[in-house]
Subunit: 296 residues, 2 copies
């Protein structure tokens, strides 16, 4: 009896694929091909990444485009095209599919080509193509760098929780869940100078762990410095800011670059390894999200 | 009560998306971007496109790569990279996923980037990137052109039928199903001169109908001239050669180009519209495969 994905987790699978030479950069969100061509692909599966109970078809389309454009932003890339593959039950209303595509078109990036097919539930896979003069990547952070974040955290997870719990009056958080940002604007300032640049999709702890591991440094996050979405504690006691899907950018910068840019400093890189969360100087624990892995 | 996908079919959806300006080239298999960059994306859904009862993980990986490389061949493109998105149940064996990737790697095109996620069944979406000096497309066939096909039809559908019916001794057909070709070699000869070039994925009738419609001409297929896989009639009485997934190329060529190339002529283009199948000069009827559409 061999290992199952639930034993090794998404990251264990990715490590094994890299070790055997079966895939490159598969955990990297983006592949950088010749001439600065950047390609990113993300899949959204009904019941895993979204529920049509909480998401309209239009919002789903917007979200599928936005999460890929966010990956391009993290690569400092200007988008050129989206390619959409779609599996849908044959009973789906045509009007709903047209709404989905209207949402996919909202960011203004042309949809070119793709594939549509039957399926037992909705499955979207979007590939985004872009061009970048400089891809900061994850491996260049240096001891002495500071970390900045481009916007508030926790809004998406709290917005979803508010929907699931039937809490009224959290329109701003719900909007953060339904309409995640893609920080192409911030990327234009950060990509030319960042030593490492990522988008916060899986949760800040897991996301910065990639920078620490790939850069060979330790990372400290100062929790009291993190910009938070409003009214998180009115939705519930969970650490929503750790739960991902905020799609803000996080950059490792030389302190001089951080000083002249308008983004709050939330931590720093040090000699060593691993991620430490500190609140007022004392260590905290938190967890990111990993596909396949059983929760402990 | 609006239309459902089962009412309008895949092609009705694609027409509606094009009419509303919500997607370009989405029915085209490939998108051609700046500088001859060609991008194609195909999704394989368990229970729709394959069954793990009849397909090994390795064959599934090979197939997912091959069908995309076939789309690149139809665009006259040399492949540069594959990007793989994968949804899998957490209970999937790690060894099976590694076999899948080994199959994806078999054609020798590097796998760069992608996404892995949980799901209730296996879902693969592969994007293939390539470069082409000339994409013949579907719109350039001219009255007077002849149609050629690069290899035998019907093997894939008959091979699958042999498996499903428990018929032994059809290894060659089963192999045609499990290991579809991608005719990059033939594409190098055909793409520079073809007026239209496609791969035969959905079934020859529906596939040539795209050429007829987009080129504004009529197409005649002479059924007795079609190269067929061996022993189709021993598997069953169905017209396996109409059922698709053979992934041979079909080109519309000037007669002089067809004469100097080694591929059999199977039909021709005429003034008019629509597709006619002829056997010894008399009309036949047949059907292609369309996703979503109810069978009548």
């Amino acid at each position: 009896m061999g290992s199952r994905l639930s034993d090794v987790g998404e990251f264990g699978l990715l490590r094994e694929l890299a070790r055997l030479g079966l895939a490159e950069e598969i955990g990297d969100d983006t592949a950088v091909l010749e001439d600065g061509l950047v390609v990113t692909q993300d899949a959204l599966v009904e019941g895993v990444h979204f529920s049509l109970e909480w998401t309209s078809w239009r919002d789903l389309g917007y979200r599928a485009a936005a999460v890929n454009l966010s990956d391009l932003a993290a690569a400092g890339a200007e988008p050129t095209a989206l390619i959409v593959s779609l599996a849908l039950p044959a009973s789906t209303e045509l009007a709903d599919v047209l709404e989905l595509y209207a949402g996919l078109n909202e960011p203004g990036v042309p949809i070119r080509g793709g594939d549509t097919t039957g399926g037992d539930r909705a499955y979207l896979s979007v590939t985004a193509l872009g061009r970048s003069d400089r891809v900061p990547g994850r491996a260049g952070a240096l001891p002495g760098d500071v970390l900045v974040v481009t916007g508030p955290l926790g809004g998406s997870a709290a917005g979803l929780a508010a929907l699931e719990r039937g809490l009224a009056g959290f329109d701003e958080l719900v909007r953060m869940h339904r309409r995640p940002p893609f920080r192409l604007d911030a990327a234009r300032e950060l990509a030319p100078v960042a030593h490492a640049l990522i988008d916060l999709s899986d949760g800040i702890v897991g996301d910065v762990a990639h920078i620490a591991e790939r850069s060979g440094c330790a990372v400290e996050i100062h929790v009291e410095l993190l910009p938070l979405a409003p009214r998180l504690d009115e939705v519930g006691p969970e650490p929503f800011w750790t739960m991902g899907e905020d799609y803000e950018l996080l950059a490792a910068l030389a302190p001089a670059d951080a000083e002249r840019l308008p983004y709050p400093v939330v931590g720093r890189c040090l000699e060593g390894s691993g991620v430490t969360l500190l609140r007022s100087g004392a260590p905290l624990e938190a967890a990111g999200y990993e596909h396949f892995r059983r929760r402990r």
